[in-house]
């Protein structure tokens, strides 16, 4: 980490000796319109990812928290996309979403008579499509995290609420959600950190394209650091990434007091 910090102040292509250039890399970064575009991509991806996994993760968790026969089978089934590599997931979705012979487009065209967009070719939607695929892949993981939280809520609260005549929805809103906030906080933190780490899915599905539309910070670090040999520049980016994650996590921890409620 320290090494990476020092390198970020140099101009270096790995092969020759590094040259000390101070904060030039950082200034260059923030003057580069491409970088600002990449930064905004990163945030959009992150937003879709965090909202998506938290929503679907909680939904799935509530669904599989019921005590009925065969529930472990369903839990395991929902976890399958998490186990599978992003590379295989990306490949399958590339194929399902492909414009000419993809299953999704052919369903939309033939059965519903909709003229489908080019999911991975249209630079206005591609970022959201890729983020959604990642949400599909990871929702099962967040399901498990939420499930752990749900199972910690003692049944007596629900029993008490039922005696008082509360409906299912009411007890979900008044008991489950507040008591789940420590878990939600934890899940939120993890989701944010993971959202900034997503590299494989972009590498497999779009390679940052079309025309940079899915290029995010982590992908850019890889490009600059290991394909363009701009090691110093890439290190500076890595530090921007780290600062973003650190700042968001810090804010998150400060706001924690406002909304997280503990049982005891």
């Amino acid at each position: 980490m320290v090494a990476s910090f020092i390198i970020s102040f140099t101009e270096w292509d790995i092969l020759t000796e590094p040259e000390w250039i101070g904060t030039t890399n950082y200034f260059e970064l923030f003057e580069d319109p491409d970088f600002l575009y990449i930064l905004s991509n990163t945030f959009v991806f992150s937003l879709v990812y965090v909202v998506g996994v938290m929503f679907f993760g909680l939904l799935l968790a509530v669904l599989v928290n019921s005590k009925i026969r065969g529930i472990t089978f369903f839990r395991s089934a929902y976890f399958v996309p998490v186990v599978t590599s992003s590379v295989a997931v990306g490949l399958v979705w590339n194929w399902l979403l492909s414009p000419n012979y993809g299953l999704i487009n052919s369903i939309l065209e033939r059965l519903l008579n909709i003229n489908p967009p080019s999911w991975l070719g249209d630079k206005n939607i591609v970022l959201i499509v890729v983020a959604m695929v990642q949400v599909w892949k990871m929702a099962g993981y967040y399901m498990i995290l939420f499930l752990a939280g749900l199972q910690e809520i003692p049944n007596m609260y629900y029993d008490a609420a039922r005696i008082d005549g509360a409906s299912k929805l009411q007890s979900f809103k008044k008991i489950t959600l507040p008591l789940l906030t420590p878990t939600t906080f934890f899940v939120f933190t993890i989701a944010i950190i993971n959202s900034f780490k997503s590299f494989e899915i972009i590498y497999t599905m779009t390679q940052g394209g079309p025309s940079n539309a899915t290029n995010t910070l982590v992908y850019s670090i890889y490009l600059n650091g290991f394909l363009f040999y701009k090691t110093g520049y890439a290190s500076a980016m890595a530090y921007v990434l780290l600062s973003i994650v650190a700042i968001i996590t810090y804010i998150n921890f400060i706001l924690k007091k406002r909304w997280v409620k503990y049982q005891y």
Binding site: S66, V83, S85, V89, I144
Partner: protein, 277 residues
């Protein structure tokens, strides 16, 4: 009423299961297609080669001609060693954090947890330089050795578990003259079978699926892991979907087998600790 409610829940469960699993089933089914059949419109639900003599043509072709056999073995080698490394280091570290007193223990543990926050991309450049200086480029070492160094999730999980083992057990062993190592290997480690399984399989998953490290460190064809090989395969034969899908099936099959064999450790294990590193 109760029956009706149950039916609704089951319908929902099945619906979600279809969404989660269908892309994989579709992939498996089409890996038994010929090239012509795969581009047919509308898409064919039942592949043309299924249950015919040439059923496994794609598989034989991909395994033999495109070397996927070799890549699978590479992946098994790397993932097995790396996961053993994780179990070894994490269990020892977890034991030390849970059962030994030393100065700065809480601070070190806090730092360790904090590293979970750092995306790997931040440290990968110095790591790459280190591997370069060690002369380890294009060997399996950079894929395996980092797993031996530290694992936040595993350490955390072992620590939680070891902390809850009654002190009496430790005292009894101490009276019998057991030192810390003896105590660890004879008592603590054998008790942690569930944790060990969970950590092993999760480390296995992470290493099997890792893409960044292989892409950076491995350059020769014959040392590629299967995950990396699949991406190369994809860029070289971007239109040969029947082979690509076959390759994808092959790349996830070993992992899925392990997952289903040990799934109770994964899903239940994670439910009980709730973090992953």
């Amino acid at each position: 009423m109760i029956i009706l409610k149950k039916t609704v829940v089951y319908i929902l469960l099945v619906l979600v299961a279809i969404i989660a699993i269908f892309p994989f089933l579709w992939m498996v089914s089409n890996s038994f297609s010929s090239e012509k059949n795969i581009f047919k419109m509308p898409p064919q639900l039942i592949p043309d080669k299924l249950f015919t003599k040439g059923m496994f043509d794609n598989y034989i072709k991909v395994l033999k001609d495109y070397d996927f056999m070799k890549y699978t073995l590479n992946s098994i080698f790397v993932a097995t060693l790396a996961s053993l490394g994780q179990v070894f280091t994490c269990s020892l570290a977890g034991f030390a954090f849970a059962r030994m007193r030393f100065r700065g223990r809480n601070i070190i543990f806090g730092l360790l947890l904090a590293t979970m926050m750092i995306p790997i991309q931040v440290t990968i450049i110095p790591e790459f330089l280190l591997m370069l200086n060690l002369g380890w480029l294009d060997t399996f070492a950079p894929l395996i050795i980092p797993s031996f160094l530290v694992g936040t999730f595993g350490t955390f999980m072992y620590k939680e578990f070891f902390e809850n083992i009654p002190k009496d057990l430790e005292d009894a062993a101490a009276i019998d003259g057991a030192g810390p190592f003896m105590m660890f290997f004879r008592i603590f480690f054998p008790l942690s079978r569930t944790q060990t399984s969970t950590i092993f399989i999760i480390a296995y998953m992470n290493n099997w699926n890792d893409l960044l490290r292989p892409v950076l460190y491995i350059s020769s064809q014959k040392k590629m892991t299967i995950t990396m090989a699949l991406t190369q395969f994809q860029s070289q034969y971007s239109a040969r979907w029947n082979y690509l899908l076959t390759g994808a099936v092959l790349s996830i099959l070993p992992l899925l087998i392990i997952y289903f064999a040990l799934q109770r450790f994964v899903v239940e294990g994670l439910t009980h600790t709730g973090i992953k590193g």
